[in-house]
């Protein structure tokens, strides 16, 4: 006798169809549009646009900033996660909220706030200006904005892993003779490998696509502070759709590759 609560395997065709119907106009079609438009002028045209000086600079600059952001936040994020996870101190909870704040704040607000701090008339910028230091509208400003915006991703990837490692893990290393650094290097860090990897990839991807804060702090200066997303935006505004699409296609492909690795990795760990 078959019980009514255990029906035979449901037919997948209908629900899958509905999901696809929703996804198609929402995600899949816009993405394919990029590639279709990018190659409308043929491969030669695509390559020509892509190898232009401005497009080359924008892509390289974006990748450089993304690498730097991922590397710097890997260090700061891990350290912050370590402090938040291992020490007990007053104001720990508010600090935990503050470091996660960047996800919640609109990126445009981040850009504005950076300008108000480091800009030529900003609180600190005013003091630096006489020394000839001007972080805004310069690569340093872009890096600052990206570090700010992506900070929580590293933390979010590393802290849960750290929280899971018992305190006695490090203490075991100490009694065995390891110094604080050795315990971190040989015992904690290897355990964090997965979190570090996925955190760095996430940071990299977000930095690559960052727009709102970058557009304000960079001044969108071509061949100086123009990142790939800014380039796309500028070319669109100038009516140069082919150039915009070519770079957009490269960005989309890069993101695909990154997320492919990320998914593969998390799946493998999940098993």
């Amino acid at each position: 006798m078959t019980s009514p609560s255990a029906p035979s395997a449901p037919r997948a065709a209908v629900p899958v169809g509905i999901v696809l119907l929703v996804l198609l106009p929402l995600i899949l079609m816009p993405l394919s549009a990029i590639f279709i438009f990018a190659f409308r002028g043929g491969a030669d045209d695509f390559l020509r646009v892509l190898t232009s000086r401005d497009a080359q600079f924008a892509l390289r600059f974006s990748l450089l900033i993304a690498f730097a952001t991922a590397a710097i936040n890997a260090v700061f994020g891990t350290y912050t996660a370590y402090v938040l996870s291992r020490y007990r101190f007053r104001g720990k909870q508010p600090l935990g909220i503050v470091v996660n704040l960047p996800v919640a704040i609109p990126t445009v607000v981040v850009g504005t706030s950076l300008l108000l701090l480091w800009g030529p008339i900003g609180l600190l910028g005013r003091l630096l200006a006489p020394l000839g230091i001007q972080p805004m509208f310069a690569p340093a400003g872009v890096l600052l904005a990206h570090l700010f915006v992506t900070f929580p991703y590293m933390l979010g990837a590393v802290k849960p892993v750290l929280d899971e490692i018992e305190g006695t893990y490090e203490e075991a290393a100490y009694t065995i003779g390891a110094s604080r650094w050795q315990a971190f290097r040989w015992v904690i860090l290897p355990a964090l490998k997965g979190g570090l990897f996925s955190g760095a990839l996430l940071t990299f991807a977000h930095s690559l696509g960052e727009f709102g804060a970058t557009v304000l702090v960079s001044g969108n200066l071509r061949l100086r502070t123009q990142t790939a997303p800014l380039y796309i935006f500028a070319q669109f505004e100038a009516g140069n759709v082919a150039a915009a699409n070519a770079v957009a296609a490269v960005l989309a492909t890069l993101s695909f590759v990154i997320f492919f690795f990320l998914l593969r990795y998390t799946e493998r760990r999940g098993r």
Binding site: T168, A172, G177
Partner: protein
């Protein structure tokens, strides 16, 4: 390497987790620290390992002070309760880790690793990871890892805690063998009595941060000094009888008190009877046998090699049962008994005979002295003569609601105690509400008296507040509460009020005990309304009360007064004949009487909760 701890104290949030522990573990010894969870035993291991620093005291390794030596350089092998095997390293790499840190060459490391894997019986499993091994195997990996760099001292924190019973027994034996063969000084922490007996060359029993006693397993079992150790190791029955002429009376039975157990006439003496020392017999025993009479079997449980029984004998006059705690309203004395299971079952109503027994040492009287940390200190002043004449130990307790004031409070209490002439009291600071914390502290600690100041209290906001002893009494305090009032002087005359009805037994016992130790005289008072004739049994009760005091070696008189209320009667007597201490029962009217006596007569009051003495 021998390890010495001298007066080591570790506090967390004002609470001593390890409280003045002094201990010496000999070279090559396997020492077991035994105690319930939260007794501070694991904290001692962490202190020795250098993972935390003591607040007080010194730890020495082979005579060398370890204080300035960091954990990394102490050369201590530590096996954690959860083993903490490094997950991303193989078992072999785990074991080699300590050697790699020390820069030992790869070949030497591999050799030592294989040697250790063989030693713990895991030969050939060095390539496995943590998640490929069972709990018992992980414990052995942890042991091998801790031994790899030939530590001076091996510390094991509940190493068998996470394992099932069968594996435990195996691993215990192998640990013992390994420890013997290497001769490494070892301290093992456990809450398991059986484990302690089987492994320990010596055992230290811990309770609430204090090391109560240290001894060989057989010594601790046969001759425990403290009630706690007696209960924790082996259990059995503890009865309290009264001491007369170097003997303790248990009903019609008198048992001799050994000369090395200090005792005084009238003392309450605790007699420990282990289950196997109780013999249940079918025939009436010979007259010289230590028989408690005919009992009744309440429980009879077969548990393999032994049969465990509970037997109840009729009430023994003047005997109080401590362990097993008597059920409410239960008459008679319940004894735990055991016998080999292959013997014939005893009859349902056997004769109960004690084959042997052990007399526990008299506990040092303990006073809990509550102090405000500022202003006048009546409790401290009153505690000084008490400590001196009772030969008591005082614990000074301060309570603050402010976590930041804990250290300042402790310093202030120590200073004030010294100023009041209390020598080396232990100082405790609790955080929270005054009344709640005093009640919990007396409930947790083995205190005989709680002393608090009972004058009006200058609050920190400058207001004068009445003392809150009423709330303390309402908090179901189980210890007599001594309310200190006025300038302290010698306590020479004690007034015990039997104001309403029959004299409370607890009041007379507690008051009489104090009077005996202080060399004071006692007046028993009964108050009747004017024109009313007292109930016929009152004179008899008063006579009995005086007789009880006489038995305690205290001179007592009794008197009856006519007055409108008990309070007036007490105050009237105090006006005619001053007394230094008034003892009242903590009955319904007790609090009102206490308040009035404190306010109007200005003398200290001892409030004795019913059944506390």
């Amino acid at each position: 390497m021998s390890i010495e701890l001298e007066n080591v104290t570790k506090r967390y949030a004002g609470q001593a987790t390890v409280d003045g522990v002094t201990l010496e573990v000999q070279k090559g010894e396997l020492f077991v620290l035994l105690g319930a969870s939260g007794s501070g035993k694991s904290t001692i291991l962490r202190l020795i390992a250098g993972l935390i620093a003591p607040d007080d005291g010194v730890i020495r390794l082979e005579g060398k002070d370890l204080t300035p030596v960091p954990a990394q350089e102490r050369g201590v092998g530590f096996v954690f309760q959860n083993y903490s095997i490094f997950r991303h390293m193989t078992v072999g790499e785990n074991i080699e880790f300590g050697l790699r840190i020390r820069g030992v060459k790869r070949s030497a490391r591999a050799e030592r690793r294989d040697e250790l894997l063989d030693l713990v019986g895991l030969g050939g499993l060095g390539g496995r990871y943590e998640n490929q091994m069972s709990g018992g195997q992980l414990q052995r990996v942890a042991l091998a890892r801790a031994l790899a760099y030939r530590p001076n001292v091996l510390l094991l924190d509940e190493p068998f805690g996470a394992l099932d019973v069968k594996i435990r027994a195996q691993l215990r034996q192998s640990l013992k063998d390994i420890q013997r063969s290497l001769g490494v000084t070892t301290i093992l922490v456990t809450h398991d009595q059986e484990e302690a007996f089987e492994l320990g060359m010596r055992i230290g029993v811990m309770d609430r941060g204090r090391l109560l006693e240290v001894g060989t397993p057989s010594d601790l079992y046969a001759r425990p000094r403290s009630l706690y150790a007696a209960q924790f190791l082996g259990g059995g029955t503890v009865l309290v009888g009264q001491c007369t002429r170097d003997q303790v009376r248990l009903g019609t039975l008198t048992l001799p008190i050994p000369a090395d157990v200090p005792h005084e006439e009238g003392d309450r003496v605790r007699v420990l009877i282990r289950p196997e020392q109780v013999s249940l017999e079918g025939a009436e025993p010979a007259p010289q046998a230590a028989s408690l009479g005919r009992g009744e079997i309440l429980e009879n449980n077969f548990s393999g090699a032994v049969r465990r029984l509970r037997v109840r004998v009729p009430p023994l006059p003047g005997v109080r049962q401590l362990v097993p705690a008597p059920a409410f309203g239960e008459e008679g004395v319940t004894l735990e008994a055991s016998m080999p299971a292959h013997l014939a079952e005893p009859p349902r109503q056997p004769w109960v005979v004690l084959e042997s027994w052990h007399i526990l040492r008299q506990p040092t009287p303990r006073l809990l002295v509550c102090d405000e940390g500022e202003g006048i200190a009546p409790a401290l002043e009153l505690a000084r003569p008490l400590v001196a004449s009772l030969d008591a130990v005082a614990t000074v307790l301060g309570v603050t609601s402010d976590a930041r004031r804990i250290d300042a409070m402790r310093a202030a209490l120590a200073e004030r105690a010294a100023a009041a002439g209390l020598e080396t009291p232990s100082v405790r600071v609790r955080r929270g509400d005054l009344v709640t914390e005093i009640v919990s502290e007396q409930r947790e600690g083995p205190y005989d008296f709680v002393v608090i100041g009972a004058g009006e209290v200058e609050s920190r906001r400058g207001r004068r507040e009445p003392p809150r002893f009423g709330e303390i009494l309402a908090g179901r305090i189980r210890t007599p509460l001594l309310l200190a009032r006025g300038r302290p002087r010698r306590i020479e005359r004690i007034l015990i009020c039997t104001a309403v009805g029959e004299p409370g037994k607890s009041d007379i016992r507690a008051g009489g005990w104090l009077a005996r130790r202080l060399g004071a005289a006692v007046t028993l008072l009964h108050v009747v309304r004017p024109g009313q004739t007292p109930l016929p049994m009152v004179p008899l009760h008063l006579e009995r009360g005086v007789a009880t005091l006489r038995e305690l070696g205290v001179s007592g008189t009794h008197c009856m007064r006519a007055a409108e209320s008990p309070v007036e009667g007490i105050l009237g007597l105090l006006r005619e004949t001053p007394h230094d201490l008034v003892v009242v029962g903590a009955s319904a009217g007790g609090e009102r009487i206490t308040r009035q006596v404190l306010r109007q007569a200005g003398c200290s009051v001892l409030v004795v909760p019913h059944g506390s003495w």
